[in-house]
Amino acid sequence: MSLTVRDLTVAFDGTVAVDRVDLEVPAGSVTAVLGPSGSGKSTLLRAVAGLESPASGTIRYGDEDLARVPTHRRGFALMFQDGQLFPHQSVARNIGYPLRLRRLPSARIADRIAELLDLVGLAGFGDRTPATLSGGERQRVALARSLAVEPRMLLLDEPLSALDRGLRERLATDLHDILRRAGTTTLLVTHDHEEAFAIADRMAVMRAGRIVQSGDLAEVWAHPTDAWAARFLGYAGVLSGEQAAVLRAVIDPSGSWTEVALRRSALVVDPDGPLSGVVLAARVSPEQTRLEVDVDGLGTIAAVADPARPAAVGERVRLAVRTDRLATLPETQPSEFRHLSLE
């Protein structure tokens, strides 16, 4: 069953943290809410868990209105950024906690704990105490504990943010696989677009308490709603006005768009390319050479070159545009038009 949030507002002491939010988490999906810190995404998650009371709006699971359902009866397991394992209990007792709450026979509990430890790749860790685990291991245990009773929904609050980079990437892949295998409907909040892309299949972008865009991962990625969303989703730069017009003339003369977001690899060094510019900086990496180029008519912009064909600083190069690496942005918001027409 899916979760439906309608017109949800949560306020603290008069400050609105979540502002009239609509959100859909389809059954079986992994939906990420992506937003910078202070955007209200964690509050949204806590409201779904029943830890914050909404000022208005509804949260439904299937047909059931959750307004009067307390946290412990919602069946939504929440996993925090730092796991929040119970420090006085062993790993096995931590994972068995929700099972003991449901008074399962102890043999069943032991089997389930072993199964879960296996699932998260920590077989044999049952007797350890949380204090002896690394950050990544702790998050795995927290995940196993959250999955123990097959929750109706799993809520993840920045599940990987506390980990260092290498571990984060590995655990993100694992998390993706574990969630698909368990088939659990999941709502995830994060400020890291890479984390969201690695784990989720649907995404909502949140800013200042509001959802500004939502949909399938590919859809959101391909059509950022505005310049801010594009940058937050990982686009390297946004061109508008004159510069956007110069690029439009080259790649889409019949188009009418006025703003475009470019990924780092949208411009590539190519002797037959339509654009020309002077290389300002070059940094070699194993995959490609990352350049900064002062492109005629576009200004300073990121570009890439094949390492086999190096470009030196100060050299004039020609550049081709890869249209699958850029996204045109919709017209400026109506509110700004209104503002202009008043003048």
């Binding site: 412990h72 925090f80 929040q84 009773v149």
Partner: protein, 551 residues
């Protein structure tokens, strides 16, 4: 130019000289008197004879005293925990208007002199008092009630501070896993809170079992705990051997408890600190909020009642009791006027606080250094421990020790007006060290190193790095020592001469004399003393030094 090892030696000598000052004072005015008292017990006639001590411990009366001490302290501890833990939740885990006022009110009883609490409860439960109908006057119930009154705030503060630091999200994680609020409390909150509750309970038990002023004022001659028994044996029956035997027993037990407490705290797992504020109360918190209001009301009742009673004479409102403070009481119950005693109390408190602050700051400074060598570190830990000894030795024992050792050469201070301030300084010394040392230890040593590398000499480093961090703690420690000294009764009751009493001694003398006029005057004196102590502690509280009153 001095060679490096010369410089090192010079620094070590300097440190040793600095350490020698407080050690000498502690040796002369704590170890020597207490040692003399122990000697009096085991060497009654100059020859080693432990039989006397063992004999004392087999007496029926001593057994009764021991049992009374244990059961009143135990019951008071349980009641203080039961009243205090829900209150700690409401005052430290929730957030609502008026909370600060409630937090301040709850601390008030703890900073009051014991004699004041004794007088407050006596007038409350006296047959003519507001609760006279309950027939509690002269019963152990009155003693237990007063002990609970005194110690609820210890539980609220200790448990509350710890509770504030527990990450709320651990409880939330349990709730999302399906645990009901009651289950969350039993399986997550309580296990995390247990060390703090145990620690608070041990401290309260310690305070209750060594309580002197309250038991003496409310128990009179009928009910005695170990402390008051030592006092009665010494001053009424002049049986110094028995008193010494009880003192030794108490030192052993209390020191044992303190060491156990210290160990238990050291092995407690480190806390996950979450610097978040409380949440707003919900409907289901209502019973607990109500509980807290009742607790605060219970704590305020004796004090308000004391105030009202001090303002009434012969069934009418008047300031006669306060005016009487200028005299010596009905039937000349006092040898000096109460106003003189108050003035003397202030003078003594200034001297005692000054001495305790100087010595305590030196000790705190030395123990807060982090020496590289393991040997020096051990030495430093021992040094620290020695200055905690006065916590484990009751003030009565100390006063008694002063009485029997400082009355002849090499140290004959019988007539010295410094005897009382010195004894009070010894009582306040560990409190000063415990307030200042944590603050000095919290200064990153690299700050001092940075200052030194920029060219600051040792004195400049102290001024530039230590002082800005520590001045609040020093001020708070001075105020705390001053307030403790103002209310100190245990040691002072032995040492203050009848013609030069301090305010707590005056209050005790007044309530020991029959007559409602004297009792009325005692209530007025108690209000004045409570106001003075309260005002000082209010200033200390304002300084917001977390280590004040941490045991």
């Amino acid at each position: 130019m001095a060679r490096p090892d010369h410089a090192l030696t010079a620094r070590r000598l300097g440190t040793a000289a600095l350490a020698a000052v407080p050690l000498a004072v502690l040796g002369a005015f704590f170890l020597y008197p207490v040692g003399g008292m122990i000697q009096r017990g085991f060497w009654p006639d100059g020859a080693f004879d432990p039989g006397g001590v063992l004999d004392v411990l087999t007496r029926d009366r001593v057994h009764r005293v021991l049992w009374f001490t244990v059961w009143t302290a135990g019951l008071s501890t349980i009641l203080a925990v039961v009243l205090g833990v829900p209150t700690a939740f409401v005052l430290h885990r929730l957030r609502f208007p008026g909370q600060r006022l409630l937090r301040t009110l709850i601390v008030v009883p703890f900073v009051l002199p014991t004699v004041v609490v004794g007088v407050a409860f006596r007038q409350l439960i006296a047959t003519s008092g507001p609760l006279g109908g309950l027939g509690l006057d002269g019963t152990p119930a009155a003693i237990v009630a007063a002990l609970v009154f005194f110690n609820v705030s210890v539980v609220v503060r200790t448990v509350g501070a710890f509770w504030e630091g527990i990450d709320r999200r651990t409880e939330e994680a349990a709730a999302t896993l399906g645990a009901s609020p009651a289950r969350v409390f039993l399986t997550v909150t309580l296990p995390a809170l247990a060390p703090a509750v145990a620690s608070a309970a041990s401290v309260v038990f310690l305070f209750c079992s060594t309580s002197f002023g309250i038991v003496l004022t409310l128990g009179g001659l009928r009910y005695a705990n170990v402390e008051t028994e030592i006092y009665l044996l010494t001053t009424q029956e002049l049986d110094l051997t028995s008193a010494a035997a009880l003192s030794v027993l108490q030192i052993v037990v209390v020191t044992g408890l303190l060491v156990a407490l210290h160990r238990a705290r050291r092995t407690a797992p480190p806390l996950a600190r979450a610097g978040e504020s409380g949440r707003s109360p919900r409907l289901r918190d209502l019973p607990l909020v109500g509980w807290t209001v009742v607790v605060v009301a219970l704590l305020m009742t004796p004090l308000l009642s004391l105030l009202v009673s001090s303002l009434r004479t012969d069934g009418g409102w008047s300031l006669a009791n306060y005016r009487a403070l200028q005299g010596t009481g009905a039937d000349n119950a006092l040898l000096d006027t109460a106003t003189h005693a108050l003035q003397r109390s202030f003078e003594v408190a200034v001297q005692a606080a000054g001495l305790a602050l100087v010595l305590g700051t030196i000790v705190a400074f030395l123990v807060s250094r982090r020496p590289r060598s393991a040997g020096v570190r051990r030495l430093s830990a021992t040094f620290d421990g020695v200055f905690m000894l006065p916590l484990g030795v009751s003030a009565v024992t100390l006063g008694f020790g002063f009485l029997i050792t400082l009355n002849r050469p090499p140290l004959d201070l019988r007539t010295s007006s410094l005897l009382v301030p010195i004894a009070q300084a010894m009582v306040a010394l560990p409190l000063v060290v415990r307030t200042v040392a944590p603050v000095l230890s919290s200064i990153d040593p690299r700050q001092r190193e940075a200052a030194a590398s920029l060219g600051a000499g040792p004195a400049r480093v102290l001024l530039a790095v230590d002082l800005p961090h520590a001045w609040r703690a020093l001020a708070a420690a001075a105020g705390f020592a001053f307030a403790v000294s103002l209310g100190e009764f245990g040691a002072t009751s032995f040492l203050a001469r009848d013609d030069t009493p301090t305010m707590p001694v005056v209050i005790y003398q007044l309530i020991s004399h029959p007559g409602s006029a004297n009792f009325g005057m005692a209530t007025a004196a108690a209000v004045v003393l409570a106001a003075a102590t309260g005002a000082v502690m209010l200033v200390v509280e304002r300084l917001r030094v977390g280590s004040v009153g941490a045991f």
